[in-house]
């Protein structure tokens, strides 16, 4: 019986693929587009078919996560082709931000610590990319990003030295001090960092030839470039999320959750508290650095004053609103960040608030702060947690 179901699914997927390929070959104007579209559709269908196999996620968790990542990337990359430059730019900024959020989400959700210095860690990554690129312009992008990640992890290690005391209030206060000190640190090494003015990348990130060839000759260069940047960011985000999902489920991740819930129990079963805390903190700062590094690539420059305490607080708000300690929460937070500016300016337009006035300029802070308080008081697990709860309740009701 089970075999029969699997057989039916297999033929269904095959039929779907055939139909899709036929339709694309009829619709797409030239062979190159046809191939691209076909590959995208086949990957999506095969992926979804694999994921929906009963029990697959339990028996092959890592493979299931990889498949999910590939499908999500496939759809997202495909979508960027149709988006406008502005949407793609917002998408890239939001995707990079969601990496940062995921890092903080891990720190808070898995190990129960909190950091108010993640904007400064973003700044470390952002500056690392710019400094490295200015000295070694020919380094491949992947290597530059990895260097930024390593810098973030290293600074995280330095700050994590008093690990025995890395607990809630102390860590929060110390990282706050780091965020406040970041500008001073940047200004102490002006010849490297460019001070408050920041740095430009020597060469902009340009799309490879084969990508440009998908577009008409009339398509503006800006559109192709933004799409390429969005694609890079999305792929990096996908990889980062895949690693984090595995880390959450791994032995290390479980050890950290134990540290969060019961320190003494964790020590008794042989988890080293300082080690677990430092690792969580380093992972979080490395992720923040990766997000910051991507921002530098997207903006083609880095401006240190961006990475202020205010940004740290925004990061914290987004993590809490999205859902602490959940993967989907980080994604939700990224989307909110990408579109918050638009939503708030829409709001000011429609409520007749003077868009140049004090209130309009302070609205983002007030809204994020208010949501932060309300979420923490009434739905501590954020949007992801609330959705999950509603889901669970419906499931219970549906099964008699």
């Amino acid at each position: 019986m089970k075999w029969l179901v699997a057989e039916r699914r297999r033929s269904l997927s095959a039929a779907l693929i055939v139909v899709a390929v036929v339709i694309t070959s009829l619709l797409a104007p030239n062979p190159r587009d046809r191939v691209a579209l076909g590959v995208a559709i086949v990957v999506a269908i095969v992926g979804v078919a694999t994921l929906t196999i009963r029990g697959f996620r339990e028996t092959h968790p890592v493979f299931a996560r990889a498949t999910l990542t590939v499908v999500a990337l496939d759809v997202a990359l495909f979508a960027t082709y149709f988006f406008s430059s502005i949407t793609n730019f917002n998408l890239a900024i939001g995707a990079a931000m969601s990496i940062v959020l995921l890092g903080l989400s891990f720190l808070t959700g898995a190990s129960g610590q909190i950091s108010l210095g993640n904007s400064a860690f973003m700044g470390v990554g952002a500056l690392a990319v710019a400094i490295w690129a200015n000295h070694h312009a020919s380094t491949p992008m992947v290597v530059t990003l990895l260097i930024a990640v390593a810098c973030g992890a290293f600074v995280g290690l330095l700050l994590g030295l008093p690990a025995t005391r890395l607990r809630g209030p102390y860590l929060a206060g110390m990282t706050l001090a780091f965020a406040v000190a970041f500008t001073a640190i940047v200004n102490s090494f002006t010849s490297w960092t460019g001070g408050d003015a920041g740095l430009q990348l020597p060469t902009a990130v340009t799309p490879p030839q084969w990508l440009s060839s998908f577009f008409n000759a009339q398509t503006s260069l800006l559109r192709v470039n933004t799409m390429w940047l969005a694609d890079i960011t999305i792929v990096v985000t996908g990889v980062a999320f895949f690693f984090m999902a595995n880390l959450f489920a791994s032995r290390t991740g479980r050890a950290m959750r134990l540290v969060r819930d019961n320190e003494v129990a964790a020590e008794l079963v042989g988890v080293s508290l300082p080690r677990a805390r430092v690792i969580a903190f380093m992972v979080s700062s490395a992720y923040a650095a990766l997000g910051g590094a991507l921002w530098t690539l997207i903006n083609n420059s880095v401006s240190p004053p961006t990475f202020s305490l205010a940004l740290s607080i925004t990061i914290l708000s987004l993590v809490v609103i999205g859902g602490i300690g959940t993967i989907s929460g980080a994604l939700i937070g990224g989307v909110i960040y990408a579109y918050s500016t638009n939503v708030i300016s829409w709001f000011t337009q429609h409520t007749g608030i003077n868009s140049q006035g004090n209130l309009a300029s302070q609205l983002p802070g007030i809204v994020f702060g208010g949501l932060l308080i309300l979420t923490m008081l009434f739905a501590p697990m954020g949007i992801a947690g609330a959705v999950r709860r509603v889901w669970a309740r419906r499931r219970v009701r549906m099964t008699p």
Binding site: R167, G173, M174, A177, A181, V264, I366, G369, I373, L377
Partner: protein, 299 residues
């Protein structure tokens, strides 16, 4: 003697003392809240800031400096009490990150609201004390009537808090309900009221500190006036021990002096970096702060 008093070292010590008492006051207000309710109040800079705006700006045209100071302090008491009753009350017994997150949210809401109402332009507060340093033999000593006012006020507030906790019945009740809430309740202390009182006191101390900072001719009152000072105050409180009022004050004052030397002999960027290093090193060496007796944690 004159040359000695105007020398660089004495100037730095005096200037550092003036900053240090401010850090000490912020640290003290943090310790008051921490001891009474076990919460590190990240809005400890913003709550007094709102109170100072309420007191100093709303009635600015009608009253002189001293009535305005009095109104600000009363507003500070009010802000502290209301915050504890409305917001903080729901956070007792929750995981330790919940109050941190809520108070951080409260911080940006308050700063946003203040900037929306009163704008971010610094607002000077006229006061009777001259910010110009006294001269000695044609050279300035780093002490002005205003800085003496700052130091004296801070010392008065600190000793006032000490007297309250040491020698009054109320102080005893406050200490008791922080140490053993259940026992205190059985003995007839109204613990819940004491918690509110802890916040009222702390915001009051914070408001006096903010009034001093904002009265300074060179800073003025802005919504973010306390952001940087809060960081120094927290570092002082953490170095001295969040449980120890004496530690907070001593750490605050000595940090002020050390940082003044750093700022004078290295550069202004090095100040906050040094403070950060002091924090990290002191947390490594004495995780509970320099002035707290180490206590066993019960499981």
């Amino acid at each position: 003697m004159d040359a000695f008093l105007t020398s660089r070292i004495i100037s730095d010590i005096l200037g550092g003392l003036t900053n240090g008492v401010i850090y000490g006051l912020v640290a003290l207000s943090l310790v008051l809240v921490w001891r009474s309710t076990g919460i590190l109040n990240f809005a400890q800079g913003a709550m007094p800031m709102i109170a100072t705006y309420l007191g100093m700006v709303v009635f600015a045209h009608r009253l002189g400096y001293w009535p305005l100071v009095a109104i600000s302090i009363v507003a500070g008491f009010g802000v502290g009490g209301v915050t504890e009753r409305v917001l903080v009350r729901h956070l007792y017994g929750k995981p330790e990150i919940n109050p941190i997150v809520v108070m951080v949210g409260f911080l940006i809401v308050l700063e946003g609201v203040a900037a929306a109402i009163w704008s971010t332009t610094p607002r000077g507060i006229p006061n009777p004390f001259s910010p110009i340093d006294w001269q000695l033999g044609g050279k300035p000593i780093a002490l002005s009537p205003f800085s003496v006012y700052e130091i004296v006020t801070a010392l008065v507030v600190m000793s006032g808090v000490a007297v309250l906790f040491r020698f009054t019945k109320l102080g005893l009740q406050l200490r008791a309900s922080a140490l053993a809430p259940e026992v205190s309740r059985l003995l007839g202390v109204r613990v819940s009221r004491m918690l509110t009182l802890g916040w009222i006191l702390s915001t009051g101390v914070g408001t006096i500190c903010t009034v001093l900072v904002a009265s300074n001719f060179f800073t003025g009152l802005t919504p973010q006036v306390m952001d940087g000072i809060f960081a120094f105050g927290f570092i002082a409180a953490a170095v001295g021990g969040l449980d120890s009022p004496v530690g907070a004050i001593v750490a605050g004052v000595s940090m002020g002096i050390v940082l003044q030397f750093v700022g004078d002999f290295v550069n202004s960027n090095a100040i906050i970096i040094t403070a950060l290093i002091i924090l990290i090193v002191s947390l490594m060496v004495r995780p509970n702060g320099l002035f707290t007796k180490s206590t066993a944690r019960r499981v």
